[in-house]
Amino acid sequence: MNLRRSVDVALKDLMRYTRSLFVLGMMFAAPLMIAGLIYFAFSGLGGGDGGFQLPVTRLQVVNLDQPSAQYGGFSAGQVLVEFLQTEQLADLLETTVAEDEASARAAVEGQEADVAVIIPAALSASAFTAGGGARITLYQDPTLTIGPAIVKALIANFLDGFSGSQITAGVTAEMLAERGLQADSNTTQAMAAQYADWAQQMGQERASGPQPWLEVQAPPRSAAPTNQLADLAGKIMAGQLIFFSFYTAAASAQSIITEEEQKTLARLFTTPTPRTAILAGKFIATFVMVLGQAVVLAVASALLFRIRWGQPTTVALVTLGLVAVSTGFGLFLMSFAKTSQQAGLMMGAVLTVLGMAGGLFSAGMDVMPRAFETVALLTPHGWVMRGWKLSLGGAGPGQVLLPVAVVLVMGIVFFALGALSFRRRLA
């Protein structure tokens, strides 16, 4: 009989929620919108291959290199400029040749260019001088990181060829000297040239195929990897799913306070419905709401963002843990609020704090400092996130038992504390 009454209370709550466009928007539209926003941020509109779209870096290059007739008019600077202007790099770089160093620097300072590359006058000469060396300057907008890093990697790779030639000549001179022999300039130049030819050949091999010295494997995961963007979207969506599940659970539990304020709870107490039945009804409504939300969001995001959530049993276990802990926590959190105003504030503050600490908003970051991982595991959010990450990585049910067990226990404890507090309050 009491169960019937609890179900009636739950149905009434559920009906009220499902009639509210606002509640539905918060449950489904908001998490999808935020995850979509970040997905959109890193996919670009044209990223049809599921990969990241790297930004095009506006590059100004100044070639001050002075080629010398002594070395057959060879200009290392010109080779570098042509390299930076090649068609292959057109998706990454928008290269413009600047007239002089001052104008290139001014372009970066005026935010008309992202990076300026200044090739020194003695680049070619240094390449042919024993013990020579040179330094190319990369002048960048200090707010940028990705574009300058790409340019830096390209130029460093280019310069390694010259460095290798000089190192070859230097090592040979030193080794011969140690053995009482002398390397004349012709010998060292010839060796540097041989090394340069070898490096050019190796560079072409590396550009045309995989590194022959490396056997690269992906870390173990039971599920076939989708793509870079879907991987990121999965982690971000998991974060949003957790955040809004906790929000929904707390908002649903808040109905006790709202009903208290509106005096409908007092009216309910005049009926033969026990307080435990009312609380159980509230719990059922919250549980069903959060479960429905989790299922809809998981399916919708799988379709929208091509997320593979993992093995069905694993997903079911993690979802169960999420629903249980968020429902229990919602009741626990609301037991501290005396008015609906306080409840709203608590939701905004506590859920944001725990969400941040639990790693929900930094889910897309690859390597987190260990301190953050420790902090995350002090929160229920962190444990649920751990479960979802494992599931997204293709873990089997056995591998998520620990996080699921932890959140189930947390859920039971939170629920017991919350229910106890409300029972006392409503007595």
Partner: protein
């Protein structure tokens, strides 16, 4: 005077609850520290380079040349794994504890001198940015190692041409020594790239992007909007409790009610901004004080826009819950799009274009023009102008939709 009274009433209503006051202060500061560590890759780890595992099955020298080359990388730092750790190395990559693992097979060092060396095994998640960075760093180190081997080989040929080797063992000993010299030389290569930051700040730095310069203004912008949960709700509470109707029976004008609430939100927002600016300056070392007037102007412009947003939320929301949700949504939307959470640089072209249309982008740009680019007062005039320009239609909309009953 009535406007000030009303603003004062709003402020005292919000701040009399100590928990609320603490939230307004502690939450933004806590999160600024959190994100500052996140962007800076801190968290107590002094070396910000990505950790990669090193598993050596080769019986070679105490300091293998490849390990030496990896240690000199500015992107990764090798962590030597013992046998027990090596067994879980792949899982550590999967879980994000290591960016990659390099396993050196037995006989690798010896095989460097034959045409096809034994391949190194690398476990890396190339779907992640950290994995890609680690993979590039490993590629560079391996290429330099192979280059060093080639240098040693060419050197041996030069020696052979002049003196000749007694036997293969002598040749091998020569090559090994030359390899050591070449690897040492790669620690400080002769052709290098110097990175200079285009900043007008004192002492043009060689340092990279400071995470605090993103986290501090970013969180300031975020929490200016977030605090509308509290300040925006005063308008709703006044309306739903009937206090506003009672207020209308007094000689106060309707515009004065709107202005009073707006002033309350403004004072709260601006005070919070000043607090976070001071925290950024003195605790995080973000140099806001290098152009205090410019920074204050940006903070003022941001506060004006936030006030207009808060009034709009107060006008549209029917309950406290609505205020919380609208404020959170506005916070997520504007801070995400405007580059307050992550620099827009890494996002797609369309996202960047949309992001630049948000007021939060201009607030970030104003702050970063001063603290990162080291520019002066002139550099913030456009961002501040745009922030004020945004405040006008938001405020007009709020006044239009404002309900007194």
């Amino acid at each position: 005077m009535r406007i000030i009274d009303l603003a004062w009433k709003d402020l005292s209503q919000i701040l009399r609850d100590r928990k609320v006051a603490a939230l307004l202060v502690l939450m933004p500061i806590g999160f600024t520290i959190f994100f500052s560590m996140l962007f800076g890759g801190g968290g107590g780890e002094a070396d910000p380079r990505l950790p990669i595992g090193w598993v050596d099955h080769d019986v070679g020298s105490a300091q293998p040349p490849l390990l030496q080359l990896l240690e000199s990388s500015d992107a990764v730092r090798p962590v030597v794994l013992d046998d027990q750790e090596a067994q879980t190395a792949a899982e550590q990559v999967r879980d994000g504890k290591l960016a990659a693992v390099v396993t050196v097979p037995a006989g690798f060092a010896r095989s460097l001198w034959v045409e096809r060396p034994v391949t190194l095994q690398v476990i890396v998640d190339e779907n992640s940015a950290a994995g890609q960075t680690a993979r590039n760093a490993i590629d560079v180190a391996v290429a330099r190692l192979i280059g060093a081997v080639e240098s040693a080989r060419l050197s041996a040929e030069a020696f052979e041409a002049q003196a000749g080797f007694a036997d293969d063992a002598a040749r091998q000993a020569y090559q090994e020594e030359a390899l050591g010299l070449a690897v040492d030389a790669w620690q400080d290569p002769p052709f290098t790239l110097a990175v200079e930051q285009a900043t007008a700040a004192a002492g043009k730095g060689q340092e990279g992007f400071d995470g605090n310069a993103q986290a501090s203004p970013g969180l300031l912008v975020q929490f200016a909007i977030w605090s509308l949960i509290m300040s925006g709700s005063t308008v709703v509470v006044e309306r739903t409790s009937g206090a506003m109707q009672r207020l209308l029976t007094t000689p106060i004008q309707r515009w004065q009610i709107v202005a009073g609430h707006a002033l309350g939100i403004f004072l709260l927002t601006f005070a919070q901004e000043l607090l976070l600016l001071a925290f950024g300056q003195f605790a995080l070392g973000v140099d806001y004080l290098r152009q205090p007037l410019a920074v204050l102007l940006v903070a003022l412009g941001l506060a004006l826009w936030v006030v207009s947003l808060g009034m709009l939320i107060g006008a549209l929301a029917k309950t406290d819950n609505h205020v919380t949700v609208y404020s959170l949504l506005a916070m997520f939307l504007f801070t995400g799009l405007g580059g307050a959470w992550f620099p827009l640089e890494g996002t797609g072209a369309a996202f960047q274009a949309i992001g630049r249309l948000t007021p939060t982008y201009w607030a970030m740009r104003g702050f970063q023009n001063v603290i990162v680019r080291g520019l002066g007062l002139n550099s913030v005039l456009l961002p501040v102008g745009i922030l004020v320009a945004y405040a006008v239609p938001f405020f007009a909309l709020a006044v239009w939709r404002f309900r007194f009953e």
